[in-house]
Each structure stands twice: as C-alpha cells, then as structure tokens.
Symmetry: C2
Subunit: 254 residues, 2 copies
Amino acid sequence: MSGALTVVGLGPGDPRYLTSDADDALRGAEAVYGYKAYLDRVPIHSMQDHYPSDNREEGARAAAAIEHAVRGANVAVVSGGDPGVFAMAAAVCEAIDRGPDAWRKLDVAFVPGITAMLAVSAKIGAPLGHDFCALSLSDNLKPWALIERRLDAAASAGFVIALYNPVSRARPWQFGEAMARLRRHLPPSTPVVFGRAVGRAEETVSVVTLEDAESSPADMATLVIVGSRETRVIARSGRPPLVYTPRAAAEVSA
Amino acid sequence: MSGALTVVGLGPGDPRYLTSDADDALRGAEAVYGYKAYLDRVPIHSMQDHYPSDNREEGARAAAAIEHAVRGANVAVVSGGDPGVFAMAAAVCEAIDRGPDAWRKLDVAFVPGITAMLAVSAKIGAPLGHDFCALSLSDNLKPWALIERRLDAAASAGFVIALYNPVSRARPWQFGEAMARLRRHLPPSTPVVFGRAVGRAEETVSVVTLEDAESSPADMATLVIVGSRETRVIARSGRPPLVYTPRAAAEVSA
C-alpha cells in the first residue's frame, strides 16, 4: 500500500481562481490538512476527512500530513495562494529533509495557485510588469537586519517590491520601518498598492504614495506592492486608476 | 454601445492550469487577440474571431485590441502564464497611458494566471520558498548593465532568482554572462533549476549546479531558477530530487 501527498494552492480565495488541477487534487484526497481558515474554503467531498490546524503550526502540520500519507492514504495539504510562495511547500520539503528515510520514498506533488501578488496586480493593472521581488516582512524566521538589507538591495537596483505578511499583532512596527527604509531610495511620490483580502467578498484595493504608506491600514490579509522609480499611475475619470510598471527601463542612477 | 477589454492569463500551457475565471473570460469574448502560439491554445467559441500576431508586436497588438473594444466589442487579449509578469498587461497599460482620452474610459480587466516560475517551482519542490526576485534577462528593453546590477543586488542580498527569457536566437551570450556574474556572489554548488515547456507535452525539468549552468540548454521556453546560499537539494532514490529554499534564513555575510 502506497500513499501520496499533494500540496495544493487554493489561490486568493474565490473558487473562480482555482485551477482545475487543484480542484481535481482536492476531490481525490482522502484527507485534507491545512490552516483552518483555508480549509474552510474547501468543500468536504465524500469519504474525506479534514484536519484543521493553527496558523503557526506549519512544521507540525507538514509532518502529520506526511505521516498520514506514508501510512497509505491519498493526502492533500492546502495553502492559500501558491504553495511555493511563503507557504506549505517549503514546510513539507523541510520536514522530508529532516525526517526518516521512508519519507523520501513518498510520492509528493505540488499544485500551483494564484499567489497574492498576482491577484493584487491584476486588480490594479500591471505593477509587476517589470523586474520585481517578493519579500516577506515577517521577522519570525529571519533577522530584521536581513530584511532591511534586502529592502535596500531591491529598491536601489530598481526592482518593484511585493511585500507579504506586512503586519501582524506581534509585529506592529516593522511595516513603518520598512516604508521609512524604502524612502531612502525612492521618491515620496512612488506609488504603493494595498490589496486586502483580494478575491474575497471583503476585498479592497487602494493606491497611495510611499510618503503616506505607513499610515494606511494593513494586516496579515494585506499584500503591499511598492513601485519602482518607473512605476506609473493612470488617472481615469469615473474609474479606479491603473498602476503599471513599463516593460522598458533605463539605467538606474547610483 | 460600450465594449470591454480583458487581459487573460492562460497559465503555462495545459488547460488544467487554467482558472475558471480565465475560462469564463475566454468564452465570453467576441474577439481574442494574442501571440499566435498562445492563441493556438484557446478553442474558438461560437461567434468569436481570433486575431493572431507575432511575438515582438505587443504594443501594436495592445493598441489594436483596445481600438476594437472601444468600438463596442467584448475583446480578450491572451498571455501565456500571468498577464502581469513580463507580458501583455503592461503593454495594454502603456498603450492606454499614451493613447487618446477615450481609451481611459474603456472598461479594462485583468485575469491572473499561473506564471512560469510558479509552475516550475511546483514541479521540483519549493525553490521560491523564501524571498525571491523575478528578472527578465532580455536586454531588448533595458541596458545589459542594468541587468548585471540587478543580478549583483539580488544574489548578494540572498534572494533566489527566477530568470525569464534567458536565451533567444538574437541574445546568445547573455545567459552565460549572467551565470558568470552570479558566480561572483554564490558558491559553484548553488542549485539551478531549468524548467522547459512546463505544463506542456514536451516538458522537461532538470537540476544542475551554478558551475555547470551555462552549458545546459535553455531557450525562450525555459524558466531558470537560481537558488540562494540557503537552497537545498533532497536526493531521493527512484524519484527526482526535491529542491527547496527553507522558510528561515540567517544573516547573509557581506
């Protein structure tokens, strides 16, 4: 008897963003593991059990799902967005890397999904239309000094920056610090896009300037895109603005 | 009479990666514009016309699609992958920004898709599991010196790097130069993932080291992911290796 583990990206929330590959993987699973807010989005199919866990328990969840699959079941682990971007795919790989040899023999697959920065970008135009970085602002798993170094490197080299996990209750000051750091490299007028709960009923998308960014409300459901010097805003009467970064770029001044 | 323009991401190729939102947008369009290789993936629905164009004609294609929609039609423009990542969404925004005022009144929407780096990542594990950059190696629209500067910034700050458009017939030497540049910052053993035509019948995925990367075959259908110092390879007997970047990172040495 040989089980299998599939790590499935749910996209940003609304089922219309689900790929048919992800839908098939969820229907075929005997057991589904995930953070409980994500599991709530997955309908329970016949003969299927759901195993919710808390947000911070990614390592334990990965290990439990692998164990379950190794015992012979067809198991799915769900992630919001894409499982490979600040989500469960790395947690599953870490568990396999550290786990017993038997875990390396398991049939493991990953099903991609629409990650938050792509969903937010699509709501507002094409802010990621040129070279860009994706950076988690959480300093739970890396030192703040490293985050600052990466903000410096990305902004000074002209990358647009997508910020995941900008704020949480346990990390109240980091977002403001990050915005201040970016103002060392970028003009106060640089466009900053806030996308909150994109793809869900309570979705909001707004555009501010870097100067005003830290006073905008952000939380763990928010994805922030900080433009480069090239990013432009197209005002439209009676419609929301479009924000985009042109495909062409000139040399960035030092 | 008022038309609409929707820029639709097809994902990496296989229809199983298409979201239902993208499928709906394609079914509802009266006219579909796109690079002919992407248009070939879209079934022609009833009462629908297809307008194929060449790879290099993004600006002209965007303008033609906008004009068509402004005349009152429901028009779709297709992109491979995600339209917001080195694709048609920025070309459409550029055209609107430069075009007549009437174009700003058009109803424009963007439907995200699975971009190549997410598809390649999912095939091999979680190489993008920590902070990463997406960088086009094409110097058609930006100077090579800027690309080198961005490679330096990204690699030295510890970002994983996803390289789009690594090689074309008109750009034979750039990929080798980029790999040589990255070896200034990263050990020769750094894992490098080549994903070619992922999501299509002829799909190949391979893992080499940075030392050997430039002799690996790459073309415009290839997406290359260069790991960071933290990226790890899990060897598995009888199965392909898993490549992942751990969620946690220590300070990068200067």
